[in-house]
Symmetry: C2
Subunit: 320 residues, 2 copies
């Protein structure tokens, strides 16, 4: 690789925080000391312009979001963030872009105490692959396949704002300036729910993060657990300022829009009271939106309407 | 991501071999149990068409080589392969390509006992990022920065054949058919030196793998160790069938061509005899090519010619 591209690495030589990092960026590979008696959770996500974020997205937001979606995967598994590697492919060396991208990445990394330990920079179409590694207690790992009939279904925050922000950007809806800004913020700067995960993992039976959309990701839990679910549509948490818009459209964003990066999880009946108490003590935003039901195939609303995950694909060329 | 791309994952649902893999491909992230008292070695490499391999490279070879370069990084660190993630970006879904690519990847993964534990598939320009994780004993981790004056410099195999193969492909040299085939094999199917690493790590003071070229990678050791080196040019191991070609050109490939994926390492004087014995017992290919010298700045030949790593950039547009 040309020296120009080797220089890019200078943007990513940050001090590491964890004593587990014996050697980070700089050699052929990182040297790490995993803690004893913990599981390692490993997640890889690729982030491509025009597929995972619209062209024109600010470099600072790209840096934030590329790491946020991986932190969100760790949160969904019940793991605490530890280390990540960055594979960055760029069409050209642009110092302003690199400065902004690395700032967005670094601010989130510092906030969530995850250390950059290695990576690679190459020339090509803009693409970012992050591999994030976290630690989890054996008894608190959260999976998709372990929901049980009767469990309550919760989400950690409001749904549909990122999809509304994208729709506004693509002129498919027309939001007022302030609401558009709030939705754009949700689209560009999702906050991964790793702090909430620390509480949730003590009570939950299963968990996933919402990237594909509430219904699609709930369906992943249902498929893996071989169960159905009932959702109270009126309980879906939706940003206040979005409620004045066409309710069918907004509900569609909340159910199918995706890119929310909220946690979607199930709490067994015997844990619900204790979990509700934990929510209040922590001031965590958390909403019960339905329950797991063994008698139902797929997902239904409380008035027995079938709720299908399909019918909406964000970022696809044929989005209408 | 479209369902078409979700289906790609079917190519990569392989059985895992290590009991350390509690859950592999399928959930938001893999769940792994690292061994106690071992270091983790983590390496990420991106592999892009037209940059890291020529357009037209067979999919089977791409699958092999994308993993081989990461296995080579683990070997250079003194680590045994354990797990890897695959981030695969493709312009379109092509079943023949995917079949061949996954076969090339899987054959090498099985041969070196490394388990695919997760990843991501997306649509875009062809690009492969592999993050490989290995285990190493604390006392046998090999770094670049720990060479010592007087150490002997070794390489594990012959140099320059991959660069000669590429030059033939690009019609910069004209090789006979049989030699061209041998060189093409070295270019497409490098064998990572993980088996050799098991022996080398017991004796070596420093190590790197040759990806940028013998001189460039030796310079990385010298920079990190703040030392110089003397190389006996006549001892550079070169494939027999290449020796009938222009010797300046062939020596240039061996010194600066890169893509060899041989290990380049240093053995302290006190270990040389025991190491030479170990080489003979194991039938390992290994050649002593020089020594570390504190009195020299940079790299010199034994007739005091300065050897510069620059002057040759493979795959670059302006390669001449």
């Amino acid at each position: 690789m040309s020296s120009e591209f080797t220089l890019i690495n200078d943007y990513f030589h940050w001090d590491t925080r964890h004593p587990s990092v014996l050697m980070g960026v700089g050699d052929d590979a990182a040297i790490l000391q995993p803690p004893e008696k913990k599981h390692l959770i490993v997640s890889s996500d690729t982030f491509i312009e025009g597929v995972h974020f619209p062209k024109g997205t600010a470099a600072h937001a790209i840096g934030h979001k590329a790491l946020a979606v991986n932190l969100s995967d760790l949160a969904a598994m019940g793991a605490d963030p530890a280390w990540f590697t960055l594979a960055l492919t760029l069409p050209e060396v642009d110092d302003t872009w690199l400065h902004d991208f690395s700032s967005g990445l670094k601010e989130l990394a510092n906030q969530f105490s995850i250390d950059l330990v290695g990576g690679d920079t190459t020339r090509g179409s803009l693409s970012i692959t992050i591999t994030a590694i976290g630690f989890a207690d054996e008894k608190q790992v959260l999976q998709r396949s372990t929901a049980v009939a009767g469990d309550s279904i919760y989400v950690t925050g409001e749904l549909g704002a990122a999809a509304a922000g994208l729709a506004h950007l693509q002129e498919r809806v027309q939001l007022d300036e302030r609401t558009a800004e709030q939705c754009q913020q949700q689209l560009d700067y999702p906050i991964p729910r790793n702090a909430e995960s620390v509480i949730i993992r003590k009570f939950a039976s299963s968990c996933i993060d919402i990237s594909d959309g509430f219904l699609a990701d709930l369906q992943h839990i249902l498929d893996a657990s071989e169960l159905g679910a009932v959702i109270q549509l009126q309980d879906l948490p939706i940003m206040k300022s979005l409620k004045s818009y066409d309710s069918t459209e907004i509900q569609n964003f909340a159910l199918r829009g995706g890119d929310d990066y909220e946690l979607l999880f199930t709490i067994p009946e015997t844990n619900v009271d204790a979990f509700e108490q934990a929510i209040q003590q922590s001031n965590m935003m958390c909403y019960c939106v339905g329950h797991i039901d063994a008698a139902i195939h797929g997902i239904q609303s409380d008035n027995q309407q079938v709720l299908s995950a399909t019918g909406y694909n964000h970022f696809n060329e044929n989005t209408s």
